[in-house]
């Protein structure tokens, strides 16, 4: 039987898909595996339970410290998707309960599906009117559109949800300005900061937002755990009912080992944020310059690279290769052990043209010609060299393979 390229004995891969998931940091693996061997439900009253509870609460404090929030504002979830769902449905429903006129939810056309899909669902079941606000050609929310939409009828706005930074093209959103526009009307703001934590400086209290989603596996922690940071004053209707473990907002036995690994990863990611951003940003800039030099008609999608971390995630390089099908190019690079993404949502593995690129004004054709390279804490200069070496032959191959 032929060797599976994804067996453990395979050649080392050049992993340039950190925005999908990034390797766990060894410290988080250590902490997590240590706690996996311990018994104790944090909700139990006996000594083992108390010990587990202590681990969870210390983790909560660690995360709160790192993110600039109070420990009681950290609600653990199963990950980013649950955090986003809890935020947009839970806050909307509580706001609507308080005042039935609050029907409108404002968001951007470039949110992750974990925000867009629950909102679409709310609209379909008749619980909300959802407005997708436009972005400019670099993928940044048009603030004037937000302002106009709110001012049309502020009392009818239930919630504004704007991501901190986009997962596909890496554009940093003007969250501070969004808060400045929404707050005077008493409208809460949720932000999906899943791509931002550990790569950009994020301080929850200073941001003025009311709720913020994060997930562990994008910052060096384990899969299957995340959190919604939500201001104590904000009421959230529960989505998952049961033991009421997390502030009565979220039920389910608390995953002590995962939370411990999560906290270790957050602490490290935030502590090392500036260094990681500088390291990753320098490699990213090198990657973009050299790929653009090697493939003259390739171009960068999204916001400018400089100044580092201001307009764009430091690890994001989203490139268009005219005449090349992105999925052909991805497959050719994969065959050479170089892993990246078309950056688009997949259902059944079927690539759809990216809603983000379409919202930025790309045609379907342009959207299909794109690849996302995302760098992270384990990326090396050798990874960039390998991509630069492979990109020209792969582009040449992918060109005649363009779907006629």
């Amino acid at each position: 039987m032929p060797a599976d390229p994804h067996d453990s004995l395979r050649d080392p891969v050049v992993y340039l898909d950190h925005a999908a998931t990034t390797p766990m940091v060894p410290a988080a693996v250590d902490v997590m595996t240590r706690h996996l061997l311990e018994v104790g439900n944090p909700s139990s009253i006996h000594a083992s339970g108390r010990h587990a509870r202590r681990v969870v609460e210390e983790s909560r404090e660690t995360i709160a410290q790192a993110l600039g929030c109070r420990p009681g504002e950290v609600v653990f979830t199963s990950g980013g998707t649950e955090a986003d769902n809890l935020a947009v449905k839970g806050i909307h429903w509580s706001r609507q309960d308080a005042d039935p006129r609050r029907r409108r939810i404002l968001t951007t056309a470039i949110e992750h599906h974990a925000v867009l899909d629950p909102l679409t669902w709310l609209a379909e079941v008749g619980d909300a009117e959802v407005e997708l606000l436009p972005v400019d050609g670099e993928g940044r929310l048009e603030l004037d559109a937000l302002r106009a939409s709110i001012e049309r009828d502020p009392a009818s706005v239930s919630l504004v949800s704007v991501m901190w930074a986009n997962n596909e093209v890496g554009t940093v959103q003007p969250v501070e300005e969004v808060v400045a526009i929404a707050a005077p009307h008493g409208i809460p703001v949720h932000t999906d900061a899943i791509q931002a934590i550990g790569t950009l400086p994020v301080d929850f209290a200073a941001s003025g937002t009311d709720a913020l989603s994060l997930t562990a596996h994008k910052l060096g922690g384990p899969y299957g755990v995340g959190a919604l940071v939500v201001r104590r004053e904000v009421e959230v209707v529960a989505l998952v009912h049961g033991g009421g473990q997390e502030r009565d907002i979220r039920s389910g036995t608390i995953d002590t080992p995962a939370i411990a690994g999560f906290a270790t990863a957050v602490e490290l990611a935030v502590k090392e944020q500036a260094d990681r951003a500088a390291h990753v940003g320098a490699l990213r800039d090198d990657l973009v310059c050299r790929v653009l030099a090697a493939v003259p008609d390739a171009h960068l999608h999204g916001a400018p690279l400089e100044p580092l971390g201001v307009h764009r995630l430091p690890g994001n390089a989203h490139l268009g290769f005219p005449g090349c099908e992105g999925d052909s190019l991805l497959m050719l690079l994969d065959a050479r052990g170089i892993e990246c993404s078309t950056g688009s949502a997949c259902s059944a593995g079927v690539p759809q043209p990216s809603h983000v690129l379409l919202a930025m004004g790309c045609t379907e054709e342009e959207a299909r010609h794109s690849l996302r390279f995302s760098l992270g804490h384990t990326t090396t200069a050798a990874d960039v060299d390998a991509l630069v070496e492979a990109i020209v032959p792969c582009v040449e191959r992918a060109r005649p393979a363009k779907r006629p």
Partner: protein, 363 residues
């Protein structure tokens, strides 16, 4: 060789991919997403483009140990196969979408893209045999398993396409393939065969056509006539009828001789269906266009023709003049519908095919 294995999620294509890999080829698996709305789990009738099928194909690729991707060809498939299927019915013909898909999608769009990407061949789970002929050309022959032979739906492939094709199952029976799948630990070993048209989810072709044709002419009610032009019944749309059909005619008046009547002719524009006795269905010759030859076109050949999938072989003399193919049937054939392919065989070897445009009822 670098081989691209098209994997539908069924047992045949999974074993074909496994055999290609075992033969030492560098195999990559792909699943073709052909439906514009893949978010449908289908029960009962089986096709080849549900989410479940994509997952089955992915799991088979994992077990075989080959990389796997999904290629979205839904736009091409819709334009070249689905719309063609509707147009053919609208024109009163009976198309075979599987042939069309092989000609336009699997061994054209997919093959072109594969060759462009540096692959040497496309492997599929079709039951047909390829071998080198005396002149160095690749010949296609019927499969060993008569019941599964799919050379008919491959009769549209030309030499260039055949040179880049692999059919690893042609020498095996379906029972052997299922047993091998189980031995290899492929979970799809006992998955039912697909029989229906893959894009008609519930297998109800007439219902599907009724919806898609909208108010186009073949979907309008009209008379069912006998051979003298007398109205003997009504129909809800000509598209639902096929030449040679006997069932479901619901004729008001019995034939004078009391014998069953069959659909003899369909006129979609006039909106009429003509019925008559079985002997009037006998076809003694037919004409085909759009020929596709596996090698050099023959000028005149005495061989056999197959006129529908899993249909009988009819001894025939085939004469070719450019794009025109004349078939003289040595014994009459029944229920032959324009739009179907006439695939020409010389013994077990596929010579080529043409799309039937007209039939001749006079001996």
């Amino acid at each position: 060789m670098k081989v691209l294995a098209a994997m539908s999620g069924g047992v045949d294509s999974a074993v074909a991919a496994a055999r290609a890999a075992e033969a030492g080829h560098d195999v990559t698996g792909i699943h073709l997403a052909l439906s514009r709305n893949p978010a449908s789990y289908r029960s009962g009738a089986r096709g080849c483009c549900t989410i479940e099928d994509a997952n089955d194909a992915r799991r088979a690729a994992d077990v075989i140990g080959i990389p796997f991707y999904v290629w979205d060809l839904s736009d091409r498939f819709h334009a070249d196969v689905v719309e063609d299927f509707m147009d053919e019915y609208a024109a009163g013909r009976t198309p075979n979408p599987c042939l069309r898909c092989n000609e336009k999608i699997k061994f054209a769009a997919v093959l072109d893209r594969a060759l462009g990407l540096g692959f040497d061949a496309v492997a599929t789970g079709h039951y047909a045999q390829l071998r080198e002929g005396p002149d160095g050309l690749v010949e296609m022959h019927r499969a060993v398993d008569d019941g599964k032979d799919q050379s008919y739906v491959l009769g549209v492939l030309d030499q260039e396409q055949l040179r880049h094709s692999l059919f690893p199952l042609g020498g095996s029976t379906k029972a052997e393939v299922r047993a091998e799948a189980a031995e290899r630990g492929l979970r799809v070993a006992d998955k039912p065969d697909s029989h229906d048209i893959c894009f008609v989810a519930d297998g109800d072709n007439a219902g599907w056509l009724r919806e898609k044709l909208g108010d186009r002419a073949p979907n309008r009610a009209g008379p069912i006539l006998d051979e003298d032009g007398a109205e003997v019944g009504r129909h809800e749309g000509t598209f639902a009828y096929t030449i040679g059909q006997r069932r479901g005619l619901r004729l008001g008046r019995p034939a004078p001789d009391g014998k069953p009547r069959f659909v003899l002719d369909i006129e979609p524009v006039a909106g009429t269906v003509t019925v008559g006795p079985r002997e009037r269905l006998a076809v003694h010759g037919l004409r085909g266009e759009r020929p596709r030859w596996c090698g050099a076109p023959p000028a005149r050949l005495r061989g056999t023709v197959q006129l529908r999938a899993h249909g009988a072989e009819h001894p025939a003399v085939v004469t070719v003049e450019g794009e025109q193919v004349d078939v003289e049937l040595l014994e009459p054939a029944y229920g032959i519908a324009p739009g179907q392919a006439a695939v020409v065989y010389d013994g077990t070897r596929v010579v080529g095919s043409a799309t039937i445009t007209s039939t001749r009822r006079e001996p």
